[in-house]
Amino acid sequence: MKSLAELQAIKDKMKNKVVLREGNNELRVVVGMATCGIAAGARPVLNTIVEAVNEGGLADKVTVSQTGCIGLCQFEPIVEIHEAGKEKVTYVKVDTDKAKRIIEEHIKGGKVIAEFTLSDLK
């Protein structure tokens, strides 16, 4: 059974790490989580991204956050990549498979997947 003692152990382990993470957010991944996004499937997309970032050891440089309606409801789920010094990249109609590729190819590999972006959508 999960207990609060176990949570205590997580806290003790994390205490040292947190200091390292502060001010180290070079890259921000933002997922639209308003009614439109949620209805279109944003929840599994967000959770896939959170998992991939953390399991992939990217948590030190990547922050994952949620936002409201971006105003492009017909293109939801929408994932935005904000990187210091670079133009924002907006991925549209993202599903969990696309999300995994975005993490692999864009976040890890540094290469924008043009076919998933708004500007490339027919």
Binding site: I10, M14, A59, C69
Partner: protein, 181 residues
């Protein structure tokens, strides 16, 4: 929505947006009935706003003029023979006891009832996105009770953010075990 737990995520986001420091999400189930209740201590709504919240052409957002969250919940509840009730006290009327209560009743045996789906993912998503506000989640299924109070976790965590990945994973397991046992 594909599952009711997605409506729960959507409606709870309204409470956070209304600057609630605590949002209570309660699900009470019997064999026939499912009652959802959201109770928050956010800014609340004026009587005038309250009259229009279930109208899809009313919304607080500025990106466009149609809001679908509550109207959708209302429609889905009514389709099963149930309904939605919203009460609210605006901060201008009572500076201490303000906030909103949304309750929705669904009849589970109706053909148009949408299954609850993955509630654990909904709770985890809320905490991941809003680590600085508190959530009390209670799910009663007949005699059984599943419960998570972020205020209790916060006390243990002493400043470690609730949306730390390891903590979110712990929360999911903690809830999962309560459902199984």
């Amino acid at each position: 929505m594909k599952e009711l737990s997605l409506n729960i995520l959507d409606i709870a986001e309204n409470s956070v947006k209304a600057k609630a420091s605590l949002t209570e999400i309660s699900i009470e189930e019997t064999d026939e009935k499912l009652t959802l209740t959201f109770t928050d201590n956010g800014t609340g709504m004026t009587e005038e706003t309250l009259k229009t919240v279930t109208d899809p052409f009313y919304t607080t957002r500025t990106t466009r003029k149609v809001g679908m969250g509550l109207p959708l919940l209302k429609l889905e509840a009514e389709m099963t023979g149930g309904g939605v009730n919203v009460t609210s006290t605006h901060i201008s009327e009572d500076s201490i006891n303000h906030g909103t209560v949304v309750s929705a009743v669904f009849y589970k045996n109706h053909i148009d009832f949408t299954p609850l789906g993955d509630v654990i993912e909904t709770v985890a998503t809320l905490i991941q996105g809003h680590p600085d506000t508190d959530f009390l989640f209670v799910h009663k299924i007949n005699e059984k009770e599943i419960r998570l109070d972020t205020r209790e976790l916060r006390e243990v965590l002493e400043g470690i953010p609730l949306n730390t990945y390891e903590v979110i994973k712990w929360i999911k397991e903690f809830l999962k075990e309560q459902y199984i046992n």
